[in-house]
Structure formats: C-alpha cells, structure tokens
Amino acid sequence: MKEKKSMGFLDWLKTGKVNRKLVIITFMLVPLTLLIVFTYLPFTQMIGYSFYDMKYIGDREFVGLENYIEVFQRDDCFRALKLSLYYIVASFVQLGLALYFASILSFKTKGSGVFKGFMFFPYLVCGIAVGFIFKFFYTRGFVLDTVLQWCGFKLDNLPYWLRDTKINNISIAATSIWRYMGQNMVLFIGAIMSVDSTLYEAAAIDGANGWHKFRYVILPSIKTIIVLNMILSITGSLSVFEPPYVITGGNFGTGTYFVIMNELAHESQKVGLASAMAIVLLVLIMIVTAIQKWVERYFFGVGEQEPIRTIKKRQKRLAEQAKGGVQ
C-alpha cells in the first residue's frame, strides 16, 4: 500500500508540467545561489562600501561622495589610469602582430605548426612565472642587455629597463604582448580558416597578390572578431595586475590601477576608497562595452538584423530616388 502511494508520488513527479518545473528549479538552484552570493551580493555591498570610510572590521563612517572625489584627486589613482594607455597601445601592437602572423600561418608555410606552437605557448605559462621570467630577462646585464650587446649596443648606453621611468612601463607592457600575442593569433587563424576557401581561389584567379588577399578577402571576413578583440584588449588593459605586481611590485611609477587598489584594499585596508575605485573602473568598462555594442550594431549588424549603416544608406538612396522621381 505504502509502496503504491510512493509510486504514485513518483509518477506525479514524472508528469510533464511538474517535472518541467522541478527540473528548472533544481538545476538553477546551485548556479543562481553561487551567482548571487559571489557576484551580486558583493556587488551591491561594494556600492554601499564606496560611500563609507571603513576597514574590514570595526566602525564605519558615512562620507557620501568623498571616496569618489578622492579617486580622481589622488595622484596615484589618476596616474594609474593613465598608465593603462601603455597597455592599450601594447595590446594594439599585439593585435597587429597576431593578425600578421595569423595571415602568414593560415596559408602554405613550411613548419607552420612549429612556429604556431612556439608563439602560442607563452599563453599557457602562469602569470607569476611570466613575471619572474621577465624580471630576470630585464635585469641589468642579463638577457636583454646581452642580446643587445651582441647587436653592437654598449651596455653603458642602455637604460635600466625596469627602473628608468621613461621606459619601464613599456618594458612591462611588452610582457603582455609576449604572453597574449599567440593566443590572439590562434583566434585569428581560426577565423581565417573558416572563411570560404573559394573566395581565395577567386581572388587568385583575379590576380590578387598577398596584400590584396589580406585587404579585400581576409580583413572583411574577420572584422567582427578583430573588433571584439580590440574591445577585450581595452578592458583587459584597464585591469592589468600581475605583470607590474610581480616584476616591480608597482615601484618606480609602474603601479597600475589594480596594483594601487590591491594595496589600498588589503594593505592599508581603505575598503571604502578601494570600492569606489572598483566602481569607477566598472563604469569605464561599461562605457567601453556600450561603444562596442554600438559599433557592432552600426557596422556589422547583429544576427539576422542588417547593419544600421547599410539601412541608413539604403534609406538615403531611396529618398534621393524618390526626389528624383518627383522632379
């Protein structure tokens, strides 16, 4: 009797609608809990903290917008934001190199697998190790200096790569190029490979040389992924942390925004100020992302929808035709 009843309950559970609800609830329970506890709860709390003068433990005092004002007035925060420009430039260099190597390696090249592997591998090295590798690489009289001496430079004429404030941010930003160029390249190779190969054949018949092939076939076909990567590079450049943290510890004017924020949050325990910094950065990232969405919609169209630029052009043309018709 009892067994029959439980069977009945199980059957009831298996009926379409109940089962459907049950599956939605049970499957979403864990992911949503995690999302709320580790993303949205801290996020709302962070907004709250940013209006307080507080430490992790102890009293807090409401200070209104003072933290935000301080973010823009503090030398180190503002300088750190300007430092991002170095990384943005570096990431564009990186994209250019990646595009160049990707277009070479997508076509018949001897040993392309080996070249690809060598250039990609740095991506798999952990950030801390990359930091140590380059701390060593740039040390006075070590790797880079030795190579340059082979090329005929004199050691006395070479700068201190990590201490000279004119050049040290470039040195550190270059390590990001080293680490991520191969990854970008692999993405671009994937995109180039997915282009319809008859296009290349047609271009070859029309007598296109390498540059024409790149300019008129490859570039238009993969522009979406290029723009996406440019945007990712900008947001990535705003959030650089590991290279300066390991290589110079943020000294000699190399402290990026996150290095400064990390210091404030966990060493000086200025939680309110650090939260305000985080929110400012978030707003910047949202602006960049909004620009990306707009560029995508305007120039490339999303899914089935046509690019807004094409629609506008057509409307203009139609309008002109209509005018012509009246005349």
Binding site: T39, Y56, K110, A129, I133, F136, V147, G249, S275
Partner: protein, 281 residues
C-alpha cells in the same frame, strides 16, 4: 600579377625571417631560464646568463626550488582544486545552459542578463567585497570554500554550453520524453554524453585559468604552509631568495612542465577550444 621571381624570393625570405624572429622572441626568455636552472651557484655568479651550463645533469636547483617552495604540496592542492572546480563548473554550467536553452519561462531572459552583466564585473575589483563575504562565512583558509567560490565565478562556460545545446535538435528531447523519459533523464542520459566536445573546450579554457589563478588563491588561501598552490608557491621567491635566479628559474620551469605536457598532448583541442570559446559573443 607576374611579380618578378626575384621579388617573390625576397618576400618568402622576409616571411620566414619574421616567423623565425617571432619564434625566437617567444622562446628566448624561457630558454634562458632553462639554461640558468642548470647552473651551479658558482657558475651563476661568474658566467654570463647566455653561457651554457657545464653540466645538463645538475638537478640541485630543481630539488632546492621544489623544497623551498613546497611544490609537492602545491601540486597536490592545485590538482585537487582543478578537479573539483572543473567538475563543479561543468555541472553548474551545463545545467544552467540546459534550462536556459530548452525551457521558456518567466525569468529566462532575466537570468541570462544577470549572467551577462556579471561577466562585465572586473574580477580583481570584486574581491574587495567578496573577501568580506568569505570572511563572514569563515571560508578564509578553507579549501572547499575556495573551490565553491571558484565554481561560482563562471560565465563563459555557460555560453559555450548554450551554443552547443542550440545545435542539438529539440526533437531528440521530445522523442525521449515520448518514450517516457523525464527531463532529468533527457539531460543526464542523452544530452550530457553528447556534450563531450563542449566539455573539453570548457575544461581547457577554465583549466588554464584555474591553474594559473594567483590573486584569489593568495587572498583566500593565506596559510601558505598548508594551502599553497602552484601559482602562489612561486611567490615565495620574492623574499630572501629574490636574487638567486638559478633557484627561481628552476621553480619557474617546474611550474611550466605540466602546462607543456598538456600542450604537447592536446595541441589540437586547445586551439579549437580557444577558437570556439571566442566566437561565443
């Protein structure tokens, strides 16, 4: 069209020259590390960094680095974290993707945009307040807590799974339901096995990130005697060992070896996984 033969030869030479230069720059920093890792302290002090070591069988630096940075424990912890975080985020990611791609219900769109917005929040910035939560849960220096937190911060895998589900015909689900299968059965018996390629992709993308994760590991696993990971173990070398690069390089090489092995074994999957992960947008 008929570029001169000479011009073509020059272009080809330039092409290979640039490739060699690119490969050289990519490899040089690592190769010098390998060289230095095999040098005795004396050699390190007296010879130029680019001079080859006397003996390629001098392993004392590796032994020393292994002990100094407690790397045996670090690898053990990293492997535990990797296994559980990958298993956890593959389960949560695929379940979320299943619900979001197969069922239309109030809130589907809302949940999607919640995940989307979450992906915009910069990870390190969020830790200021996540730390507070971990602290109040008493999860600082608590490995399972760290693992759970790492499972939660995952959005890209959901996209990859959603994309994959959308390529599997819904009629497959429907016919299974007709045969008396429950939705749970459909997911676990029919769809999950089909998901293998997507799972490999997620494992690669997420695995690289988790293995290399320094910031959160350092923040939440502060007890470096017990809860050291591969990434945090290396940081030991900033202290008193800061200038002894023969040890540091040995440590760096040790952490790179697993990545190198995985790379050589699954090069193809890594490339295709990355490419799939990127077109999610």
């Amino acid at each position: 069209m008929h570029a001169g033969k000479g011009k073509r030869v020059i272009l080809t030479i330039l092409k290979y020259l640039s490739l060699c230069l690119g490969a050289f720059i990519s490899v040089l920093p690592v190769v010098v590390c390998v060289i230095t890792a095999f040098k005795t302290p004396d050699e390190y002090a007296t010879t130029n960094v680019m001079t080859l070591p006397n003996s390629w069988a001098y392993f004392t630096n590796f032994k020393e680095a292994w002990q100094q940075a407690n790397m045996g424990l670090a690898f053990k912890n990293s492997i535990i974290i990797l296994i559980f975080v990958l298993a956890g985020s593959i389960m949560t990611g695929s379940m979320t993707a299943y619900v979001l791609s197969r069922f239309k219900f109030v809130g589907n769109g809302i949940i999607r945009s919640l995940f989307l917005f979450a992906s915009l929040l910069p990870g390190i910035a969020m830790q200021v307040s996540v730390y507070q939560i971990m602290y109040s849960l008493n999860w600082i220096n608590f490995l399972p807590g760290y693992i759970i937190m790492m499972c939660g911060t995952d959005i890209i895998s959901i996209y990859i799974f959603i994309q994959f589900f959308e390529n599997i015909s819904v009629s497959l689900d429907e016919s299974a339901i007709m045969d008396g299968c429950t939705y749970f059965g459909v997911f676990f018996r029919i769809l999950l096995p089909l998901l293998k390629p997507a799972i490999v992709t997620v494992m690669i993308l997420k695995g690289v990130g988790v293995y290399n994760e320094y910031y959160t590991a350092n923040l939440y696993l502060q007890n470096k005697n017990k809860l050291v990971t591969v990434a945090t173990s290396l940081f030991k070398f900033t202290g008193p060992l800061g200038n002894q690069y023969n040890y540091i390089c040995a440590g760096v090489i040790i952490t790179m070896i697993p990545a190198l092995i995985v790379f050589i074994l699954c090069q193809k999957q890594i490339y295709s996984g990355l490419t799939q992960g990127a077109v999610k947008g």
